[in-house]
Protein backbone atom coordinates (compact mmCIF):
# COMPACT_ATOMS: atom_id res chain seq x y z
CA UNK A 1 0.00 0.00 0.00
CA UNK A 2 1.63 3.22 -1.01
CA UNK A 3 -0.38 6.19 0.21
CA UNK A 4 1.35 9.55 0.46
CA UNK A 5 1.57 10.46 4.16
CA UNK A 6 -0.45 13.66 3.64
CA UNK A 7 -3.45 11.68 2.35
CA UNK A 8 -3.76 9.37 5.34
CA UNK A 9 -6.97 10.50 7.07
CA UNK A 10 -7.01 11.66 10.66
CA UNK A 11 -8.48 8.90 12.82
CA UNK A 12 -6.11 8.25 15.60
CA UNK A 13 -3.29 8.45 13.07
CA UNK A 14 -0.85 11.31 13.29
CA UNK A 15 1.64 12.26 10.60
CA UNK A 16 5.05 11.18 11.77
CA UNK A 17 7.51 12.32 12.98
CA UNK A 18 5.45 14.64 15.18
CA UNK A 19 5.68 15.75 18.79
CA UNK A 20 2.24 17.36 19.17
CA UNK A 21 -1.33 16.61 18.15
CA UNK A 22 -3.45 19.71 18.68
CA UNK A 23 -6.54 17.67 17.83
CA UNK A 24 -6.12 15.52 20.94
CA UNK A 25 -4.99 17.60 23.89
CA UNK A 26 -5.33 15.25 26.84
CA UNK A 27 -4.00 17.43 29.69
CA UNK A 28 -7.55 17.97 31.01
CA UNK A 29 -7.99 14.24 31.58
CA UNK A 30 -5.56 14.52 34.49
CA UNK A 31 -6.79 14.30 38.09
CA UNK A 32 -3.32 13.65 39.54
CA UNK A 33 -0.14 15.38 38.44
CA UNK A 34 3.28 13.67 38.37
CA UNK A 35 5.80 15.57 40.46
CA UNK A 36 9.53 14.91 40.18
CA UNK A 37 11.98 14.78 43.06
CA UNK A 38 15.03 15.94 41.08
CA UNK A 39 17.44 14.85 43.83
CA UNK A 40 16.35 11.22 43.40
CA UNK A 41 16.10 11.08 39.59
CA UNK A 42 19.00 9.21 37.94
CA UNK A 43 17.85 10.08 34.40
CA UNK A 44 17.51 6.37 33.59
CA UNK A 45 14.58 7.21 31.25
CA UNK A 46 12.45 4.22 32.22
CA UNK A 47 9.55 6.65 32.72
CA UNK A 48 10.26 8.24 29.36
CA UNK A 49 10.00 4.95 27.49
CA UNK A 50 6.95 3.83 29.53
CA UNK A 51 4.74 6.91 29.21
CA UNK A 52 1.87 6.03 26.86
CA UNK A 53 1.42 9.68 25.91
CA UNK A 54 5.06 10.56 25.29
CA UNK A 55 4.66 13.19 27.98
CA UNK A 56 8.02 12.72 29.65
CA UNK A 57 10.67 15.08 28.26
CA UNK A 58 14.33 14.12 28.08
CA UNK A 59 16.69 16.71 29.51
CA UNK A 60 20.40 16.84 30.28
CA UNK A 61 20.10 16.13 34.05
CA UNK A 62 16.61 14.99 34.99
CA UNK A 63 13.32 14.42 33.16
CA UNK A 64 10.35 16.82 33.08
CA UNK A 65 6.69 16.41 32.12
CA UNK A 66 4.64 17.79 29.25
CA UNK A 67 1.50 18.75 31.17
CA UNK A 68 -0.36 19.82 28.04
CA UNK A 69 -0.75 16.12 27.20
CA UNK A 70 0.03 14.16 30.40
CA UNK A 71 -3.25 12.50 31.36
CA UNK A 72 -2.19 11.54 34.83
CA UNK A 73 -2.30 7.77 34.36
CA UNK A 74 0.46 7.30 36.97
CA UNK A 75 2.47 4.74 35.02
CA UNK A 76 5.65 6.83 35.40
CA UNK A 77 5.10 6.76 39.17
CA UNK A 78 4.72 2.96 39.07
CA UNK A 79 7.80 2.24 36.99
CA UNK A 80 10.37 4.64 38.46
CA UNK A 81 12.94 2.37 40.18
CA UNK A 82 14.04 5.01 42.70
CA UNK A 83 10.65 6.48 43.60
CA UNK A 84 11.45 9.90 42.16
CA UNK A 85 7.91 10.53 40.85
CA UNK A 86 4.95 11.14 43.12
CA UNK A 87 1.37 12.00 42.19
CA UNK A 88 -0.36 15.06 43.64
CA UNK A 89 -4.01 16.15 43.27
CA UNK A 90 -4.22 18.34 40.16
CA UNK A 91 -6.29 20.96 41.95
CA UNK A 92 -3.46 21.59 44.41
CA UNK A 93 -1.85 23.50 41.52
CA UNK A 94 -3.24 26.81 40.34
CA UNK A 95 -1.60 26.68 36.90
Amino acid sequence: MSVPVKEVPFAGTVPSPKTENEGMITGNWRTRRPVLDADKCTNCLICWISCPDSSVNQNADVVSFNLKYCKGCGICNEVCPVGAISLAPELDFED
Binding site: R30, K71, E94
Partner: protein, 214 residues
Protein backbone atom coordinates in the same frame (compact mmCIF):
# COMPACT_ATOMS: atom_id res chain seq x y z
CA UNK B 1 -40.87 36.88 16.20
CA UNK B 2 -41.76 33.89 18.29
CA UNK B 3 -39.10 31.27 18.80
CA UNK B 4 -40.59 28.06 17.43
CA UNK B 5 -38.05 25.98 19.30
CA UNK B 6 -38.66 27.54 22.68
CA UNK B 7 -39.69 25.06 25.39
CA UNK B 8 -40.41 27.16 28.48
CA UNK B 9 -41.16 24.21 30.77
CA UNK B 10 -37.98 22.34 29.91
CA UNK B 11 -35.05 21.87 32.32
CA UNK B 12 -31.76 20.40 31.13
CA UNK B 13 -29.31 18.61 33.42
CA UNK B 14 -25.75 17.87 32.29
CA UNK B 15 -23.45 15.71 34.41
CA UNK B 16 -19.72 15.67 33.67
CA UNK B 17 -17.65 12.68 34.75
CA UNK B 18 -14.42 10.80 34.07
CA UNK B 19 -14.48 8.04 31.48
CA UNK B 20 -14.94 4.42 32.62
CA UNK B 21 -14.58 4.87 36.35
CA UNK B 22 -17.48 7.30 36.74
CA UNK B 23 -19.68 6.49 33.73
CA UNK B 24 -22.20 4.70 35.90
CA UNK B 25 -22.30 7.45 38.52
CA UNK B 26 -22.94 10.14 35.90
CA UNK B 27 -25.68 8.04 34.32
CA UNK B 28 -27.17 7.29 37.73
CA UNK B 29 -27.47 10.99 38.57
CA UNK B 30 -29.51 11.81 35.46
CA UNK B 31 -31.51 8.59 35.61
CA UNK B 32 -32.33 9.03 39.31
CA UNK B 33 -33.41 12.66 38.98
CA UNK B 34 -35.46 12.09 35.81
CA UNK B 35 -37.09 8.91 37.18
CA UNK B 36 -38.04 10.87 40.30
CA UNK B 37 -39.56 13.55 38.06
CA UNK B 38 -41.44 10.87 36.13
CA UNK B 39 -42.98 9.72 39.42
CA UNK B 40 -44.28 13.28 39.74
CA UNK B 41 -45.92 13.05 36.32
CA UNK B 42 -43.30 14.96 34.33
CA UNK B 43 -42.07 14.20 30.82
CA UNK B 44 -38.45 13.03 31.02
CA UNK B 45 -35.45 11.80 29.09
CA UNK B 46 -31.98 10.57 30.16
CA UNK B 47 -29.04 9.43 28.07
CA UNK B 48 -25.28 9.38 27.75
CA UNK B 49 -23.10 11.15 25.22
CA UNK B 50 -21.23 8.63 23.09
CA UNK B 51 -19.56 11.37 21.06
CA UNK B 52 -17.34 11.76 24.15
CA UNK B 53 -16.06 8.19 23.59
CA UNK B 54 -16.55 7.18 27.23
CA UNK B 55 -14.50 3.97 27.07
CA UNK B 56 -11.26 5.91 27.59
CA UNK B 57 -10.17 6.11 31.22
CA UNK B 58 -10.33 9.67 32.66
CA UNK B 59 -11.68 11.32 29.48
CA UNK B 60 -14.27 14.01 30.33
CA UNK B 61 -17.71 12.51 29.49
CA UNK B 62 -21.29 13.75 29.77
CA UNK B 63 -24.64 12.27 30.73
CA UNK B 64 -27.82 14.26 30.14
CA UNK B 65 -31.31 14.58 31.54
CA UNK B 66 -34.36 16.56 30.43
CA UNK B 67 -37.45 17.25 32.56
CA UNK B 68 -40.54 19.11 31.36
CA UNK B 69 -44.17 19.83 32.22
CA UNK B 70 -45.05 19.44 28.57
CA UNK B 71 -44.12 16.78 26.09
CA UNK B 72 -40.44 17.22 25.14
CA UNK B 73 -40.29 18.54 21.58
CA UNK B 74 -36.49 18.49 21.37
CA UNK B 75 -36.24 14.80 22.17
CA UNK B 76 -33.97 14.07 19.21
CA UNK B 77 -31.44 16.80 20.04
CA UNK B 78 -28.49 14.72 21.17
CA UNK B 79 -26.69 17.22 23.41
CA UNK B 80 -27.99 19.59 26.09
CA UNK B 81 -27.13 22.92 24.52
CA UNK B 82 -28.44 25.17 27.31
CA UNK B 83 -28.23 23.39 30.68
CA UNK B 84 -30.03 24.66 33.80
CA UNK B 85 -28.07 22.33 36.07
CA UNK B 86 -24.47 21.17 35.66
CA UNK B 87 -23.01 18.56 38.01
CA UNK B 88 -19.45 17.17 38.28
CA UNK B 89 -18.75 13.70 39.67
CA UNK B 90 -15.13 14.74 40.16
CA UNK B 91 -13.69 18.13 41.17
CA UNK B 92 -10.78 18.40 38.70
CA UNK B 93 -13.31 18.89 35.88
CA UNK B 94 -13.46 22.59 36.87
CA UNK B 95 -9.98 22.91 35.36
CA UNK B 96 -9.50 22.98 31.60
CA UNK B 97 -12.99 21.73 30.67
CA UNK B 98 -15.67 24.15 29.43
CA UNK B 99 -18.27 22.79 31.85
CA UNK B 100 -20.51 25.88 31.82
CA UNK B 101 -20.85 26.19 28.02
CA UNK B 102 -24.33 27.43 27.11
CA UNK B 103 -25.79 27.56 30.64
CA UNK B 104 -29.05 29.47 31.13
CA UNK B 105 -29.22 32.50 33.46
CA UNK B 106 -29.71 31.26 37.02
CA UNK B 107 -27.93 27.96 36.39
CA UNK B 108 -26.61 25.86 39.28
CA UNK B 109 -23.27 24.00 39.43
CA UNK B 110 -23.04 20.99 41.76
CA UNK B 111 -19.59 19.54 42.54
CA UNK B 112 -18.47 16.37 44.30
CA UNK B 113 -15.57 17.76 46.34
CA UNK B 114 -14.04 18.25 49.76
CA UNK B 115 -12.83 21.73 48.81
CA UNK B 116 -14.77 24.97 49.37
CA UNK B 117 -16.65 26.61 46.46
CA UNK B 118 -14.40 29.70 46.75
CA UNK B 119 -11.33 27.67 45.82
CA UNK B 120 -12.96 25.81 42.91
CA UNK B 121 -14.48 28.99 41.49
CA UNK B 122 -11.00 30.33 40.72
CA UNK B 123 -10.45 27.58 38.15
CA UNK B 124 -13.62 28.25 36.16
CA UNK B 125 -12.60 30.59 33.37
CA UNK B 126 -15.73 30.74 31.21
CA UNK B 127 -19.51 31.07 31.52
CA UNK B 128 -19.78 32.27 35.12
CA UNK B 129 -21.98 35.32 34.18
CA UNK B 130 -25.05 33.08 34.08
CA UNK B 131 -24.14 30.97 37.11
CA UNK B 132 -26.28 31.60 40.20
CA UNK B 133 -24.84 29.20 42.75
CA UNK B 134 -22.23 26.53 43.41
CA UNK B 135 -23.14 23.53 45.52
CA UNK B 136 -20.42 21.40 47.10
CA UNK B 137 -20.86 17.98 48.63
CA UNK B 138 -18.25 15.38 49.60
CA UNK B 139 -20.10 12.54 47.89
CA UNK B 140 -17.03 10.27 47.93
CA UNK B 141 -17.13 10.20 51.72
CA UNK B 142 -20.76 9.02 51.64
CA UNK B 143 -20.58 6.30 48.98
CA UNK B 144 -18.06 4.78 46.58
CA UNK B 145 -17.99 5.17 42.83
CA UNK B 146 -19.11 1.87 41.33
CA UNK B 147 -16.98 0.94 38.36
CA UNK B 148 -18.95 -1.25 35.99
CA UNK B 149 -19.87 -1.47 32.35
CA UNK B 150 -23.19 -3.05 33.28
CA UNK B 151 -25.82 -0.58 32.16
CA UNK B 152 -23.67 0.97 29.45
CA UNK B 153 -25.11 0.88 25.92
CA UNK B 154 -28.63 0.84 27.34
CA UNK B 155 -28.53 -2.64 28.88
CA UNK B 156 -30.02 -3.35 32.31
CA UNK B 157 -27.89 -2.04 35.14
CA UNK B 158 -27.39 -5.00 37.47
CA UNK B 159 -25.75 -2.88 40.18
CA UNK B 160 -28.86 -0.76 40.77
CA UNK B 161 -29.67 2.91 40.18
CA UNK B 162 -28.11 5.21 42.74
CA UNK B 163 -26.22 2.44 44.50
CA UNK B 164 -23.03 4.49 44.66
CA UNK B 165 -21.79 8.05 44.91
CA UNK B 166 -24.25 9.26 42.26
CA UNK B 167 -27.09 9.02 44.82
CA UNK B 168 -25.34 11.64 46.97
CA UNK B 169 -24.72 13.94 44.03
CA UNK B 170 -28.35 13.65 42.90
CA UNK B 171 -29.49 14.55 46.42
CA UNK B 172 -27.30 17.68 46.38
CA UNK B 173 -28.88 18.68 43.05
CA UNK B 174 -32.35 18.25 44.52
CA UNK B 175 -31.45 20.25 47.62
CA UNK B 176 -30.09 23.18 45.62
CA UNK B 177 -32.67 23.29 42.83
CA UNK B 178 -35.86 21.66 44.11
CA UNK B 179 -36.23 20.18 40.63
CA UNK B 180 -38.06 17.24 42.23
CA UNK B 181 -39.29 16.48 45.75
CA UNK B 182 -36.55 14.82 47.81
CA UNK B 183 -39.06 12.08 48.74
CA UNK B 184 -39.43 11.19 45.05
CA UNK B 185 -35.66 10.84 44.68
CA UNK B 186 -35.49 8.61 47.75
CA UNK B 187 -37.98 6.24 46.13
CA UNK B 188 -35.59 5.75 43.19
CA UNK B 189 -32.04 5.59 44.59
CA UNK B 190 -30.76 2.42 46.24
CA UNK B 191 -28.34 4.14 48.58
CA UNK B 192 -30.90 6.12 50.58
CA UNK B 193 -28.49 6.69 53.42
CA UNK B 194 -25.94 8.47 51.21
CA UNK B 195 -28.72 10.53 49.63
CA UNK B 196 -30.08 11.63 53.02
CA UNK B 197 -26.66 12.60 54.35
CA UNK B 198 -25.81 14.51 51.16
CA UNK B 199 -29.14 16.32 51.31
CA UNK B 200 -28.26 17.40 54.83
CA UNK B 201 -24.61 18.29 54.23
CA UNK B 202 -24.52 19.91 50.77
CA UNK B 203 -23.33 23.53 50.94
CA UNK B 204 -25.01 26.06 48.63
CA UNK B 205 -22.96 29.19 47.90
CA UNK B 206 -24.29 32.22 46.01
CA UNK B 207 -21.92 33.05 43.14
CA UNK B 208 -22.42 36.79 43.74
CA UNK B 209 -20.65 36.48 47.08
CA UNK B 210 -17.72 34.75 45.31
CA UNK B 211 -17.46 37.39 42.61
CA UNK B 212 -17.38 40.15 45.23
CA UNK B 213 -14.84 38.31 47.34
CA UNK B 214 -12.61 37.68 44.31
Amino acid sequence: MTNLFEEPGLKQITVWARGVYENKEARDVVVAVTEAAALEGKFVQAWENYVDLPDRIYVPVRAYGKISDQEIESKYVYENETPDIVALTEETLVKGVDILAGIKPGAVLVINTKRPAEYLFKFIKKGTENLASIVTVDANSLAKSIITLSGAEGATDASGIGKGMGAALAAAIVKATGIVQFESLLKIVENKNAAKKAFEKAQVVDVKTLVNAG
